[in-house]
Subunit: 439 residues, 2 copies
């Protein structure tokens, strides 16, 4: 009898190998046993496979070693795949052979057990916690979202132009900026947004997006803040506020569809209510800031015209909708210097915030930028911004200025919403917060 | 007679609109004129279109305004598209109407003219220089490379897991690290590589990659150094040095093929010798460090066994090959602490560098990591690294350790090679170097 040849496969590929002898290289996720049979659940990063080891069918030593294997030990397991409708994933592996690669010691066992751990303990063990089913699902959805965002822009004529992380100008005060010691006592800052640079590259490419980490030194401990987070920022030349709304709506729907199409299993692990995501269809409701303030006042908020929407206001407002709501034309006075004022009513700015449903708050902010040279110069002065640092930015209004517009979407906020989880900190592999820089 | 309806299109789409009335929104790239006819070349970020304005066919004021239009003025131009095999792009537009959006003033003209400018001048005007044909081509190729890299990994079972930018541990001395003032006098550093974190996430996902900016505070002014550069770093569990070579080779060929398939026009703008790129086919030559040293000595290099390859050595060595050459098994003593030693010969490490042809130097470095707990602890001690900062990293050898391997590829180096240009600084939109943090 010839030696069986086991083909190494990943668990996600099991569907193509029914009845075949295969080899899985992974880690022991869980183990059930009952006397003469044991069921090692093996994960390999692509899925989890239930294996069936029968005492009478295996060398005694091998069976005993499997039966007493410790959680997260690494092992290579060989056997025949069998369709099993009752098993998660639809397959089981009848074990014929196995090699334990590294056995986790009983004296120093894997620290994360099925019992409840506190969040600080789990965050301290983030390097291991990522292996758990829920965290794996969240980060898989993150991957899907990022791929969808890029595919959307790549297939709609946008050029990816990465903007710099080291920025010289202090855009609007330095209080929320992280400073970096460059060479010879030069000081630079970590980017908060690629927008100003996008406004340069968009005049070269027509449509651009930047996608990278951004930094905000806010002393905030809310579940909606990270000091390091990823943002996608598209910008379009010859475009207006309406284009921002149209593209943002289209992109959001594109991403939600992708998550629904490709990540059903992960959404189910997270017990996400699919109907909430299926409701995300165009058109999204569009209301003005004026209308938002009135609606909020009716609901008991103390907001007054002229004030910014707080987190509680955002939640209150989004309650009325089963899909993202677009709130536009905020007071010019509370918006950044670069917002184009409404031509008919300069006290409001051509900006829009998009609030996710279910209380997930703002996921997108954007709008139309000032393209007139004189108005921009006036705004820089009103905002007490150093002219010299903005010389290059002002140049863009001298040399072929055109109406242009864009937006920014925080990836962790979007992922948190997709996953239906409570806190941004789980939407990134190694979150950085006010009191968290490790591991 | 009804008013003509001009459909707004991008120049790249001209092929689908032959004979149709269209509208192009862009900027004046160039202008030729001869009495009763003028030829505004308009760019819109997707391409350049030659337009034909005939005096007798247009209102006098419009013709005069076009004829005297200044470089980089923004304009919307309307007319009928006509196939013209002699025109770049294959089409011309017969102008019927135009709107100048912003006219660049004659007193303050566009600073970048067809004459030769010095590199410092161009870099100071990087926000405008990006509009030039060559820079547009380079950054378009960069976009293509990044998309190809991501597509390769996304379609080969890798999960994107972004690793943190803020890192607490000082891996190997702090001399090439940028420090950041976190809150309350805490000090963190900007990542030089996501590898150590990849080694955690790979145990959760089996195959991962990270793709983001990395930072190196080297006081180097060579054309091969940026202080801020983008790197892709895949990592594989249950993998060895051979897997690194196989995947790197496959990925490089995948990216080169994509650039050749989709960016012919840009390569032609850059006058890139296509035969050099077409030669990039598997298998790549694989030589050992031992062989490399002998070959270099024969060529007159003063390198001795035990020393690292310098830039000049890399160029000298790659001369012999028309495709990337893989050099493996460097002396353990000159490699980082985490390299797995060769089992048969521990004085060399299971690492590989991949050198691009045509003198473009190292584009990839990688190898197999130590997976044995005791050996890792020993190495940390030998390298005088603080045990406590590496506790989480050591954990990975306690809980299901497996052989694993990966590599890093610098995007700007790869793009520089693809484009056949001289200096990394053109391979990124806003380069950051020792003496360059603006604009």
């Amino acid at each position: 009898m010839s030696e069986p040849v086991y083909q190494r496969i990943r668990i996600a590929e099991a569907g193509s190998y029914d009845g075949r002898q295969v080899e899985i290289a992974g880690w022991l996720y869980n183990l059930r046993k009952s006397g003469k049979i044991c069921f090692p659940q093996v994960r390999d990063g692509s899925g989890i496979l239930q294996c069936v080891a029968v005492k009478s069918a295996l060398p005694e030593e091998l069976f005993e070693s499997l039966k007493h294997l410790t959680q997260e030990s690494s092992l290579i397991i060989r056997g025949k795949l069998r369709a099993e409708p009752r098993a998660p994933g639809g397959f089981e592996l009848d074990v014929e052979d196995a090699t334990v690669v590294q056995r986790v010691s009983e004296e120093h066992p894997y620290p994360i057990t099925p019992k409840d751990h506190g969040i600080e303990f789990l965050m301290d063990h983030r390097h291991l916690w990522l292996r758990s089913r829920r965290q794996h699902a969240v980060l898989s959805i993150r991957h899907e979202v990022i791929r969808a965002v890029r595919d959307y822009f790549d297939t709609h004529g946008f050029t990816l132009v990465d903007t710099p992380i080291f920025t010289p100008a202090a855009c609007e005060g330095t209080t929320t900026l992280f400073g970096v010691n460059y060479f010879d006592d030069e000081k630079v800052f970590l980017t908060q947004s690629g927008q100003l640079y996008n406004e340069a590259t968009v005049m070269a490419f027509g449509k651009v997006y930047t996608f990278g980490p951004t930094f905000r030194a806010e002393k905030s401990k809310t579940r909606r803040h990270l000091t390091e987070f990823w943002m996608v920022e598209p910008e379009m030349a010859y475009a207006t506020l309406d284009d921002v709304k149209r593209v943002a709506e289209e992109m959001i729907c594109f991403c939600v569809d992708r998550v629904l199409a490709n990540r059903r299993e992960e959404l189910s692990v997270l017990e996400r209510d699919l109907t909430k995501l299926q409701a995300i269809q165009p058109p999204f409701p569009r209301i003005s800031y004026d209308e938002a303030v009135l609606a909020l006042q009716k609901k008991g908020s103390e907001i007054q015209w002229g004030g910014d929407l707080g987190g509680a206001d955002e939640t209150l407002l989004s309650e009325d909708y089963d899909r993202p709501v677009m709130v536009d034309r905020y007071p010019t006075a509370i918006k950044a210097f670069y917002f184009e004022p409404a031509p008919d009513r300069p006290e409001v700015a051509l900006g829009v915030d998009i609030l996710a449903p279910e209380g997930y708050g703002e996921i997108i902010g954007g709008g139309q930028r000032i393209h007139d040279l004189d108005l921009l110069l006036q705004r820089l002065e009103e905002h007490h911004l150093p002219r010299e640092a903005f010389d290059w930015y002002v140049d863009l209004r001298r040399f072929g200025s055109v109406p242009h517009a864009g937006f920014g979407m925080g990836i962790e906020r979007f992922v948190t919403w997709m996953c239906g989880i409570d806190h941004l900190r789980e939407a990134i592999a190694f979150p950085r917060m006010l009191y968290r820089t490790r591991p």
